[in-house]
């Protein structure tokens, strides 16, 4: 590869290293795995670079995050072949009806540890839409692209992820007080 092409590649994706690391870290819940996945994702991205036609930094971000996400899933699948099936069984750990809601004040009073635990406890498919939306501020269209799901699914998944978070945070904060 020409040095100038590498420079172009780096300019498109290196600014998103923090975003890539954030996603990998929240998906894998392990800093070493996250680092390995980020490095691997950048190498994969380099291979696909010819196929990447987006010009702006924003397109570069979704494109890179898509590769990070898929690389993280590959690692998870290799580690624990049954992880996907188990975690996506939504009847597990649902803890109450979707119609029950905690007091808004309990959500307001939640501390960092409580929020972090509630997020970590979510199935990975729910966790990723929350991270992409709340930490990285991606639009539904961008989340759909990164997670490889329709926009309608982004909306319903986000909604359900939030109801679960509400219940978990509400319960933990109530217990604390």
């Amino acid at each position: 590869m020409e040095p100038s092409q590498l420079t172009r590649f780096e300019a498109a994706v290196l600014p998103h290293l923090d975003a890539a690391y954030t996603l990998a870290r929240y998906l894998l819940r392990d800093e070493h795995d996250a680092e390995d996945v980020v490095q691997e994702a950048y190498l994969r991205a380099l291979n696909y670079f010819d196929g990447f036609r987006g010009a702006g930094p924003v397109e570069g971000r979704s494109w890179l995050l898509t590769i990070v996400r898929n690389t993280a899933y590959t690692l998870r699948a290799n580690r624990r072949p049954d992880a996907h099936a188990t975690e996506f069984d939504e009847t597990l750990h649902s803890g109450g009806s979707e119609d029950e809601h905690p007091e808004t004040e309990l959500l307001r009073a939640a501390d960092r540890e409580t929020v972090q635990r509630a997020l970590d406890a979510l199935p990975v498919e729910f966790r990723e839409v929350i991270v992409l939306r709340e930490l990285q501020d991606l639009s539904y269209k961008e989340i759909a692209e990164v997670a490889g799901i329709p926009v309608g699914t982004v909306m319903s998944r986000l909604a359900r992820a939030r109801r679960r978070l509400e219940r978990a945070i509400g319960a933990a904060t109530k217990e604390r007080d």
């Binding site: 290293l17 501390d111 930490l135």
Partner: protein, 254 residues
């Protein structure tokens, strides 16, 4: 639309994903429906709590170097190595105990380039491996004495922590055919490597500022010491750091 339809779209509305008519209809419904208004407020608080309590993370600085090195290796773009004859000369110089300054280097630009390569390679090697420091300490009075007996000079080590450039440590390195002091300072997540050796060893030349593969290098020769400063830090801050070094040196010399 009925209440259930609006309720199902509340998240999308809160995320700014409803446009024009849809958003206006939702606003009207929220004024009329207490249940949706409560749900909307609860979602707003949850969103604010999530954003306030969950930090977006910063990649560790080693990861940045690791990724860049891996990319360069994969792309076949590797930092230029010192050419064999230079290495051979360096080794020979040590063996026979002659000093660098006595060499008759016919092409001084090549020699300067070789130093640039060596400094950069050493910096990158230190970042990617576990060998950033032989002596890791933020205390100049720990780092400076460590070089006693390891070098034939006593490198100046400064405390710039109060100015935002904390000392990380020091290590022994080998540049321009001789053992040199390498001092690591920090700036946020960036590492600044400072290579120095006595100017009396002879000039290696080299440009005062050069950028290679995203790393900036600044170089100067003071009466006492010859300096190379290298980092992926922005060139403005690296310049500021270099000025601090020069000022500290000239203050120490008085």
């Amino acid at each position: 639309m009925k209440h259930d339809d609006f309720a199902a779209q509340l998240d999308a509305y809160g995320d700014g994903e409803l446009m024009g008519n849809e958003a206006r209809e939702m606003e009207r419904h929220l004024r009329e429906c207490a249940a949706c208004a409560r749900a909307h407020e609860r979602q707003r608080v949850l969103r604010a709590t999530m954003r306030a309590q969950l930090p977006a993370l910063t990649a560790p600085r080693e990861l940045r170097s690791r990724v860049r090195l891996a990319l360069r290796a994969a792309a076949g773009v590797t930092p230029a190595r010192p050419r064999p004859e230079w290495r051979w000369l360096a080794a020979a110089a040590v063996l026979v105990g002659i000093v660098v300054g006595t060499w008759k280097i016919t092409d001084s630009r090549d020699a300067a380039n070789a130093v640039v390569d060596e400094v950069l390679a050493s910096h990158v090697r230190a970042l990617m491996g576990t060998h950033l420091t032989d002596v890791a300490s933020t205390d100049q009075h720990t780092v400076k004495p460590w070089f006693n007996g390891r070098l034939d000079f006593s490198p100046p080590v400064y405390d710039f922590a109060g100015l935002g450039y904390p000392l990380i440590g020091g290590r022994l390195d080998y540049v321009a055919g001789g053992p040199v002091a390498a001092l690591a300072y920090g700036r946020r997540q960036h590492v600044i490597d400072v290579f120095l050796w006595p100017t009396q060893r002879g000039s290696t030349g080299g440009p005062p500022a050069v950028t290679r593969q995203g790393y900036h290098m600044l170089h100067w020769s003071a009466p006492d010491y010859t300096y190379w400063v290298v980092s992926d830090l922005g060139v403005t801050e690296l310049g500021e750091f270099s000025r601090l070094l020069r000022q500290a040196d000239s203050t120490a010399a008085r």
